[in-house]
């Protein structure tokens, strides 16, 4: 009996040793270890191609009399821009430049103000056949009875290139100018130095082209929704291994994630990120590369929603820091939604240094109270801003510079709703004034989001 038990035990132990050896040799890695080893694939938005990164700041149509202005989010803006962008992508450059100068009696019908500048030339979507590279700040469309010309103005110099459009392309532009394009649109005025100096009573100079409505505009007061970010996904886009990041829970409910090198703050309405050690890197990317990088960054870290426009891309720096500065703004019906903290990214060759993202979108334009507000006339708003500037200026300057003047929305939070309040935003010699669009009272920046 004893021998029988020994035999069974020996047989069992032999079998067990084979099983354990097999498990040790060929055994599967436990699932939890496998998860750690394999980098997770993140489902994020694809970056926009270069053709869709840049859009004009303004498109001004002067087909009949005083100009009409088309801005991001307004009817007609997209089609006018797409037509020009498509023409520049398709145009045969060497054919077009022959006899390209518009005759003296031709008339300017469209002006595209490009900010950021549009890069054109070899290897780029626009004028790919051209043997030169240029960054364009303005494109004008001229016409006489028979032909149409594009006049391209380069940024930073007075160089202009003229392109004669084929009859087919000219006809496509003609088709855009139907009555519907100008329906319910207000006419604008392009400000001049003399005009603003005379009306404000101060010596004022324009720092760029500024268009203002000729008549009072009605603006909807809107309820805004902060962007609904997937916090888990956002976290993974910033931290390769977010197990290494520690969490700081702020008193206001915000969450900070930091691994000692970089920090990410997630709040109810947006995010802030910084990686200060990357500040000292260089920025060797070319302007078109930087445009694409900006698209990649915003698409990867939260996405690029419709009606969010790239407003600025510039190379700047302080101290030993050189970086590209990209800034985006959300638009509603042609008006910018001016969040207190912009959606902005600073990046260089080392990667993303700073990133803030605060995007508010109109929630179906719910009317509040009286619904619409009538914006005060531009000259009243300008006079108020100049008076405020003079009141707070420590030293009086002889000549003031009007850098920005536009209608838009600021974001406030009252009675549990985020609201878009219509305002005049005016910048004089570096000082920005935000005035209620109707009453022209100065808006306290502390009350804004």
């Amino acid at each position: 009996m004893m021998e029988k038990i020994k035999s069974i035990l020996l047989f069992f132990l032999f079998g067990l040793s084979l099983l354990l050896t097999y498990q040790l040799w060929y055994g599967e890695i436990p699932a939890q270890l496998l998860e750690e080893d394999v980098s997770e694939r993140l489902l994020v938005e694809e970056p926009r191609p270069l053709e869709n990164v840049i859009m004009p700041k303004l498109i001004v149509s002067s087909v009949e009399g005083d100009p009409y202005v088309f801005k991001k989010g307004e009817i007609g803006y997209e089609s006018l821009w797409e037509e020009l962008s498509f023409s520049l992508q398709q145009i045969s450059f060497y054919e077009a430049v022959e006899e390209a100068m518009p005759p003296a009696d031709s008339k300017k019908i469209l002006t595209y103000y490009l900010q950021p500048e549009l890069p054109v030339g070899e290897g780029l979507p626009w004028l790919a056949e051209a043997a030169f590279y240029a960054e364009l700040e303005m494109i004008e469309l001229y016409t006489d009875n028979a032909n149409k010309w594009l006049v391209l103005s380069e940024a930073g110099n007075n160089h202009k290139t003229n392109l004669l459009l084929s009859s087919e392309k000219a006809e496509r532009f003609n088709e855009l100018f139907d009555e519907a394009l100008f329906e319910n649109k207000s006419r604008y005025t392009r400000l001049t130095n003399e005009q603003i100096t005379m009306l404000s009573g101060y010596d004022l100079e324009l720092a760029g082209s500024i268009y203002v409505p000729q008549e009072s505009l009605y603006m909807d007061e809107v309820i805004l929704e902060p962007e609904d970010l997937d916090h888990d996904l956002i976290l993974k886009t910033f931290f390769v291994d977010y197990n290494m990041a520690r969490i700081i829970e702020e008193k206001d409910g915000g969450l900070i994630y930091t691994d000692g090198e970089k920090g990410l703050r997630l709040t109810e309405v947006g995010l802030e990120y910084s990686s200060p050690r990357k500040e000292t890197g260089s920025a060797t990317a070319t302007y078109p590369e930087a445009l694409f990088n900006s698209s990649s960054l915003i698409s990867y870290h939260g996405g690029w929603p419709e009606n969010l426009r790239l407003d600025e891309l510039s190379l700047s720096g302080w101290g030993r820091t050189i970086h590209y500065n990209a800034e985006w703004c959300m638009y509603y019906a042609g008006f910018p939604i001016l969040a207190k903290q912009p959606t902005k990214a600073l990046f260089n060759d080392s990667g993303l240094i700073y990133y803030t993202r605060f995007i508010f979108t109109p929630d179906d334009v719910i009317m509040i109270g009286e619904g619409q507000k009538t914006a005060a006339m531009w000259y009243d708003a300008l006079e108020k801003a100049v008076t405020l500037f003079k009141d707070q200026a420590s030293e009086s300057e002889n000549v003031l510079h009007l850098e920005e003047m536009r209608l838009g929305y600021v974001v406030t939070n009252s009675s549990g709703h985020y609201r878009g309040e219509p305002v005049w935003r005016i910048k004089i010699s570096g000082e920005t004034f935000t005035l209620q669009a109707d009453q022209l009272n100065l808006v306290d920046e502390e009350d804004l989001l």
Partner: protein
């Protein structure tokens, strides 16, 4: 040899083999017990690197493989409350400013900052003993700790860290917090002595909420921490001694509800200069990266 004896020998042999295989497969820490994080070769290479950069190792390194986790902490409000209650009993007058509240009693003032830091100022200073600066360190500590206990300023889990004496006659005693035998370097008590008078106490105390065993990970070795320190500080212009290297928890001071602290290797150079190396990432812990508004 008969068959029965052969079977017995084989049973013992297979039982031993199965135990060995079972250990490797099912005992997660077994591997760790047989491993060292710093081999003799690593140690030699580290010392060579340190010496080439003018750093000299004057302490032994913990060579075992260690694991650690994040520790969630919150400012110790209850302990803070006890201290302030004591001031109110002494008839303290309370004045508030934006980031601090002051409790002014007759000869002492407690200032409480929103981050949780408490500063107790004695005016005039408290004379603790005759010839106080001349006392030996052990006696000096005894007197200070007796005073702290009497004043109810000696929290549980406190551990003496080090002492600094300046030529001008200033003495500072540093204490830090501990939690389950691990130092929490961010939780600190500092006692400031000017000549023979105790003039100020600064207390930043934390309340450990929980450890996160789900995020327990193997930490980098002490040798790797030293290499990272040299990488990040660069070569020293003058010879410097590495006096101590110890594992603990560390973070900055936050005006926050609660936060997680990572494990760090604290490296002490001569002249009481401390550096904290994150024991998970290997990065030097400087000012915590809190996203700020874009300049």
């Amino acid at each position: 040899m008969n068959l029965g004896r052969a079977k017995s020998i084989l049973i013992i042999a297979f039982a031993g083999l199965n135990l060995f295989l079972g250990y490797y497969l099912f005992w997660p820490d077994f591997g760790r017990l047989t491993r060292v994080s710093v081999t003799a070769e690593d140690l030699r290479a580290t010392e060579v690197l340190l010496n080439e950069n003018n750093y000299f190792l004057q302490t032994s390194l913990d060579r075992s493989v260690q694991v650690s986790d994040f520790l969630i902490v919150t400012p110790a409000r209850s302990f803070q409350g006890e201290i302030l209650q004591d001031f109110i009993k002494k008839g303290a007058r309370v004045t508030e400013s934006e980031h601090a509240t002051a409790y002014r009693a007759k000869e002492e003032t407690a200032v409480v900052y929103s981050s949780g830091l408490i500063r107790v100022i004695y005016e005039p200073g408290v004379i603790l003993a005759e010839d106080f600066p001349g006392l030996e360190e052990r006696r000096l500590r005894e007197i200070v700790e007796t005073f702290l206990t009497e004043e109810q300023l000696m929290p549980e889990g406190i551990a003496f860290d080090y002492i600094e004496k300046s030529e001008a006659g200033y003495i500072t005693l540093y204490y830090h917090q501990t939690y389950k035998e691990m130092p929490i370097y961010a939780g600190q008590l500092q006692v400031f002595i000017d000549s023979d008078q105790l003039t100020r106490i600064e207390l930043y105390w934390l309340e450990p909420v929980e450890r996160l065993p789900l995020r327990e990970m193997e930490v980098i070795s002490a040798a790797e921490a030293l290499k990272n320190l040299v990488d990040q500080l660069g070569a020293s212009p003058e010879p410097r001694d590495i006096k101590d290297i110890e594992l603990g928890y560390f973070s900055g001071e936050y005006d926050a509800e609660k936060w997680e602290m990572p494990p760090v290797w604290r490296i002490m150079l001569n002249s009481n200069e401390y550096h904290y190396i994150n024991a998970f990432t290997g990065n030097i812990e400087q000012e915590t990266v809190i996203p700020e508004q874009i300049p």
